[in-house]
């Protein structure tokens, strides 16, 4: 009986699926996921085995994306690099969403001085140029993927906090919240059962777009050499080594670059698809 009943989720899914770009984005992300999980199965090479006899080979049947200056298979390194990018995207955005949601909920729900203090904190955080803050922090710590994820997360929650706060403010005066109050519902019940589920949809959109941003940030940091450290492959550090050979080994730069482009584009398309599906009025735009 349950699955015959139409639900908001089902309608959302139908609207999402009717958007071809968003669906394509979702498929690309799903494929990337599968590839990175099953990396050992899709390629016969290891990402960091050096092969001095096959350095800088152009793309061919045995090395689809060619090999790098140490004879490692670029396709294998790009696939393993996807692990880093996806992990960074999810963990960093997960941290940002949790912090932002909690702060936004408190600020919006309790209002008054709680709201003022939390929102001024948001303003202060927004004053820092995030990328340079990350650079400075990483420069003091030893570069590691975990630090990067945590720092991207800690500097990326302000937008979510503002979104959630605005959402809570508009929900707070809705009659169903008053009805719960009249019934004697506790604050925590009102926040978690009534406000949070209704405030999450814009967060989902911003989180999806945030994943794209986090992947870009990680690639940039790795490209600069303070992100993921070689020999662990990441799209950013493959690009770094590729730049030295760009005149005669274009495949070293092209493939990781395309991987970044396609992934970020896919996340953006999915994010916009979710936004349109949540609010059908925007679909024409």
């Amino acid at each position: 009986m349950r699955d015959q009943v139409s639900s908001p989720y089902r309608e959302f899914w139908q609207r999402f699926a009717s958007n071809r770009f968003a669906t394509a984005g979702l498929v690309v992300i799903a494929v990337l996921f599968l590839l990175s999980v099953a990396a050992g199965l899709v390629t016969p090479y290891s990402p960091d085995t050096i092969d001095a006899w096959h350095v800088l080979l152009p793309p061919s049947g045995s090395h689809w994306f060619g090999t790098d200056e140490l004879g490692r298979d670029v396709f294998t390194r790009v696939v393993y690099g996807a692990r880093v990018s996806l992990k960074v995207g999810f963990v960093a955005v997960g941290i940002a969403v949790v912090i932002g949601t909690v702060i936004g909920l408190f600020a919006g729900f309790y209002g008054g001085w709680v709201d003022s203090v939390l929102m001024r904190l948001v303003d202060i955080m927004l004053c820092f140029p995030t990328f340079f803050l990350i650079l400075a922090v990483i420069a003091m710590l030893e570069p590691s993927i975990w630090y990067i994820m945590v720092i991207i997360g800690l500097t990326g929650w302000m937008g979510v906090a503002r979104l959630v706060r605005a959402e809570v403010l508009s929900l707070k005066s809705r009659d169903f919240i008053l009805a719960a109050r009249v019934l004697g519902a506790s604050d925590s019940r009102i926040i978690f059962r009534h406000i949070l589920p209704n405030a999450l949809s814009p967060v989902l959109v911003s989180a999806t777009l945030g994943v794209a941003g986090a992947i870009l940030t990680e690639s940039a940091l790795s490209f600069l050499g303070i992100g993921v450290q070689p020999p662990t492959p990441s799209w950013g550090n493959i690009l770094t080594s590729g730049k030295d050979y760009i005149e005669f080994a274009w495949w070293l730069s092209l493939f990781p670059g395309v991987a970044i482009l396609v992934t970020v584009l896919s996340y953006n398309l999915v994010g916009e698809g979710i936004r349109d599906a949540l609010d059908p009025r925007r679909q024409q735009g």
Partner: protein, 328 residues
């Protein structure tokens, strides 16, 4: 008989912020309201939009604390209730809202919406709650099969039935209904009014029925209170107030109800202009700028709510002269 709920001299003021340099002003939404509600009775509270009716509802349900005055329920003052007493109050006093589209959480299924009151007050086991939800749905004329649906799958009238079922879930003694039918189509209004009447009769509930539509009160109230600009200007039994009003404002409201019978059409008394701003209420009688009978004294002295005939009170200097002397 002792009243179930009493409100004494309730006042609610809100600060209004103007521009940055404007002086702070006070909006008086409720300016000293006394109400008594007896067990098993339906009191109709009527007035134009903006007169403070909904604020009264919010004060009585404890959603907002009054600026001054007090509310007493079953002999205990609301402001001084202990936690346990307040929980009991929350169980015995329920509310039905005006807009059935905003009063139900769009992410909850009907079973969750109706089960929540039982959960909050820890009534019954999961199975018993489920049984109770089914019973409630039947009670309000819906079917237990609707349990797994979401609010957006229902029409306005059906949603309002769900809202009523939610109020009934914890077996309350008093239901405060804030314009429960004014967002609905006329034909649906009648159904919901009938449902409320049935529920009231079967369960022996007290009702505070807030509306701007006097014709609705004719159907389901025992007593009527008319509100104007944050004050009650007339109270009495339904028949007294609706057939022989003692306040010019009530008369104006009544004459605004269209009548089919041409003989019944009395002279049209029109309240001139619009409701004055509650930020700057008129001097003297709050109704004098719009009153067709206004005299100089009306703008100087505010009439108190006084008994004019047994059971009926009005706040007008000239009730007797206008309504009781001439044979109307």
């Amino acid at each position: 008989m002792t009243p179930l709920l009493t409100a004494e001299n309730l006042v609610k003021q809100y600060p209004v912020r103007g521009g940055m340099f404007a002086e702070k002003r006070i909006l008086t939404a409720v300016a000293g309201v006394d109400l008594e509600l007896y067990p098993g009775e339906t009191l109709g509270l009527a007035g134009e939009s903006g007169c403070g009716k909904s604020t009264v509802a919010r004060l009585l349900t404890g959603l907002t604390p009054p600026t001054s005055g007090n509310i007493r329920y079953a002999g205990r003052e609301l402001a001084q209730m202990s936690r346990a007493e307040l929980a009991q109050y929350r169980k015995e006093v329920q509310m039905v809202f005006q807009d059935p589209f905003s009063s139900l959480n769009p992410r909850m299924r009907v079973a969750e919406i109706l089960g929540e009151p039982l959960e909050i007050h820890r009534i019954g086991s999961a199975a018993e709650r489920r049984e109770r939800v089914a019973e409630l749905l039947r009670r309000v004329g819906l079917s237990p099969e609707h349990m797994m649906r979401f609010p957006h799958e229902f029409s306005g009238g059906q949603r309002q039935r769900i809202g009523i079922a939610r109020a009934l879930a914890v077996s309350p003694k008093l239901i405060i209904a804030d314009e429960p039918v004014s967002a609905l189509d006329l034909s649906i209004q009648a159904q919901i009014i009938n449902l409320l009447q049935e529920v009231k009769k079967d369960l022996g509930l007290s009702f505070l029925f807030i509306t701007h539509d006097l014709s609705v009160l004719r159907h389901l109230s025992d007593r009527v209170a008319i509100m104007y600009l944050g004050r009650i200007v007339e109270t009495g039994s339904r028949d007294q107030v609706l057939s022989r009003p003692l306040h010019p404002y009530t008369e104006a409201l009544l004459s605004a109800i269209p009548s089919i019978d041409p003989k019944k059409r009395t002279r049209h008394v029109i309240a001139k202009g619009e409701l004055p701003s509650p930020v700057a209420p008129p001097s003297g009688c709050p109704f004098h700028p719009r009153c067709p009978y206004a005299r100089p004294v009306c703008s100087e002295k505010r009439p108190e709510l006084q008994g004019k005939v047994p059971g009926q009170r009005a706040a007008c200097h000239f009730s007797e002269e206008i309504f009781l002397s001439e044979a109307k």
